[in-house]
């Protein structure tokens, strides 16, 4: 068996792959947080719970309606995004004139409610969700076996990330969005319905979380607590990358996933904390974050 630095290549590439998968989810979730933060100035603590709702949505669809994975990828973001729209209209919209921290507190409370309700009915053990038939099996790359589903997750999340980047940075709608981020009143004066745009942006960000949840269902199992600890890591990712740039969120997400995977190989004891340690180092060297703007 071949070895690199005394580590069998099989183990090394295996952990690298897991790192890439985790990184894909970090990227998708921090992207959603960044999009929401850009326009609403709110850190969406409910994001982890909405990611979990996406996974449950796919589970329910399969269990009770026989709707498969591919339709769930479309349906879950719409359903969960709609609940996001309701939350924004009925609750968040009342807080925009107050300190942004109230938004954090409100979404934290909502996360507790949602996770509590799901834990009540489904316990804290995971429910299985099988990989769609088209994606079972794997590719033999010679040095390792790459499961098809994992390859799909990486490709799909990269696609979604780049797509979101394109919409925001290169389309007319995106230019409205960026303009409203800079100066809401001015954009409104041009006759653009900013409140509706804010609502839809929140729905979109939440939809991204739900999409990530559906993709995560076959890998991590469907579990009411699946988003609770993840969201804290994603917060650290956001602090490291800074929320100023979309591409920054994507690069940081994947990069940190890979670093975490490598840590599991070389120093497993630190794999839970390595991202937080990196956050500390970044705060010391570049407080605004790697891609953030000092203001």
């Amino acid at each position: 068996m071949t070895e690199i630095f005394g580590i069998p290549t099989q183990a090394l590439f295996g952990q690298l792959l897991i790192g890439l998968i985790n990184g894909a989810f970090y990227a998708l979730l921090s992207l959603g947080l960044a999009v929401i933060f850009g326009l609403l100035n709110i850190i969406n603590f409910t994001h982890g719970a909405q990611y979990m709702m996406g996974a449950f949505c796919a589970y329910f669809a399969l269990q009770y309606a026989g709707i498969g994975y591919w339709w769930s990828l479309l349906i879950a973001p719409i359903v969960v995004g709609t609940t996001g729209v309701v939350i924004e209209r009925t609750m968040l919209a009342r807080l925009y004139k107050l300190d942004h921290l109230y938004g954090l507190l409100l979404t934290f409370g909502l996360a507790l409610v949602i996770q509590g309700v799901f834990t009540n009915y489904y316990g804290s053990s995971g429910l299985p969700y099988r990989i769609p038939d088209e994606l079972t099996g794997g590719f033999n790359l010679g040095f390792m076996l790459l499961p098809k589903y994992r390859a799909w997750v990486i490709v799909a999340s990269l696609g979604i990330c780049i797509g979101t980047w394109y919409v925001i940075e290169r389309t007319k709608l995106g230019s409205y969005l960026r303009a409203a981020t800079e100066n809401r009143a001015l954009v409104q004066a041009f006759g653009i319905n900013v409140p509706r745009m804010i609502t839809l942006t929140y729905g979109l960000g939440v939809g991204l979380a739900a999409f990530a949840g559906v993709m995560a269902a076959p890998i991590y199992q469907v579990n009411p607590q699946m988003g609770a600890n993840l969201i804290i890591v994603v917060f650290a990712v956001v602090v490291i990358g800074g929320m100023g740039s979309i591409l920054g969120a994507i690069v940081t997400g994947f990069g940190l996933g890979i670093i975490e995977g490598l840590t599991k190989v070389f120093y497993p004891e630190a794999s839970n904390t390595v991202i937080f340690v990196i956050m500390v180092i970044v705060l010391l060297l570049k407080p605004a974050g790697l891609f953030g703007r000092e203001h």
Partner: protein, 335 residues
């Protein structure tokens, strides 16, 4: 991004400040009377049939919430990681009492000192960013501390440190006696409470308030805002540690629950419900939440749901909290 955009109300600013129309002297007298009444009430409570263990738990959390309130209510800094100070102090004092055989007063001192030290490190890091980022950084640091406590060889992992000896306070008072223990906890709480009042009304506290209201202006007046914020953070961490260390001796247990992020959220809720930026609010909030949890203990996860719902209601409709609303109601009647 705008950390604290102009025109937004700072957190806690809706609560009526300490300085009202009545003047500082009247306020101080009112405070002393209220504190004396509160202390007398607590001193009598176990004789009126209220379970002392419940009271001790609530008092520990009340001190924890008061410490947290010092930071959010008077410094405008929302820490989402205060559990790390409560939990770390608990572990250190439990370890000192059990493994080193330290007397309770030294064990609590060791735990408090550990929390202060951690406060210096965490505070120095967190104040490098503002607003929402500050909250996220403290949360992430606390999560790091959680994993450390989970994996470190001396914390007992999932089991925690159990059956910690209570020992004899100053070699004389036997803390195994529940009533003796209760009055000791009450003394710790009242001391911490009075200390916080003193800090808030000191020149330091006034500058802190100025920084909270308008940081740029305070800096332009020559105040080193970062140093003030750091000191406030360390003071808050130390007092949170005092609460955690005392709690570990009382319950003879240090466990992962106290370092978990849900604990950080719980103290935010206690303070929010009682009234951010009010002196008595956190005490009322802590007793309400601990009492609620006590009565709802049989309902499992519904407690989490109810806790979350109280959060939502407080933020949407009740931002002044219980004590803040009472103060506003009195001010309206006076006017």
């Amino acid at each position: 991004m705008t950390g604290m955009a102009k025109g937004t109300t700072p957190v806690g600013a809706e609560a009526p400040g300490a300085g009202g129309a009545r003047g500082a002297a009247g306020d101080a007298r009112g405070f002393l009377i209220a504190t004396a009444a509160m202390t007398a009430g607590f001193a009598l409570a176990p004789h009126l049939g209220i379970y002392p263990v419940f009271l001790m738990k609530a008092l520990c959390f009340a001190l924890f919430a008061c410490a947290f309130n010092l930071l959010i209510g008077f410094g405008g800094l929302l820490s989402f990681g205060h559990a790390m100070f409560l939990g770390t102090a608990g572990y250190v004092s439990a370890y000192a009492a059990k493994v080193w055989g330290a007397p309770p007063e030294l064990a609590i001192l060791a735990g408090t000192a550990a929390a202060a030290l951690l406060g210096v490190v965490a505070g120095a890091l967190a104040i490098r960013r503002q607003g929402i980022y500050f909250a996220m950084i403290t949360l992430a640091l606390a999560q790091m501390m959680f994993f450390f406590c989970l994996q470190a060889p001396f914390t007992g992992g999932e089991d925690g440190i159990q059956s910690v000896p209570r020992g004899r306070l100053f070699g004389a008072l036997d803390l195994a006696n529940t009533l003796v223990l209760y009055y000791f906890v009450l003394a710790v709480f009242v001391a911490g409470f009075l200390f916080i009042y003193r800090v808030i009304h000191s020149p330091f506290g006034q500058v802190l308030k100025a920084i909270k209201e308008n940081e740029a202006r305070a800096i332009s007046l020559g105040y080193d805002a970062e140093r003030y914020k750091l000191l406030a953070f360390v003071l808050s961490a130390t007092l949170a540690g005092l609460a955690g260390a005392t709690k570990a001796i009382v319950f003879q247990l240090a466990s992962l629950t106290d370092v978990h992020w849900t604990m950080s959220g719980e103290v935010v809720l206690m303070t929010l419900l009682g009234g951010m930026g009010t002196i008595f609010g956190p005490v009322v909030g802590a007793f309400t939440i601990i009492g609620l949890e006590n009565y709802l203990a049989g309902f499992g996860q519904w407690v989490v749901v109810i806790t979350g719902a109280i959060f939502v209601v407080c933020v949407l409709a009740f931002r002044r909290g219980i004590v803040g609303e009472l103060g506003a109601w009195r001010a309206r009647r006076r006017a």
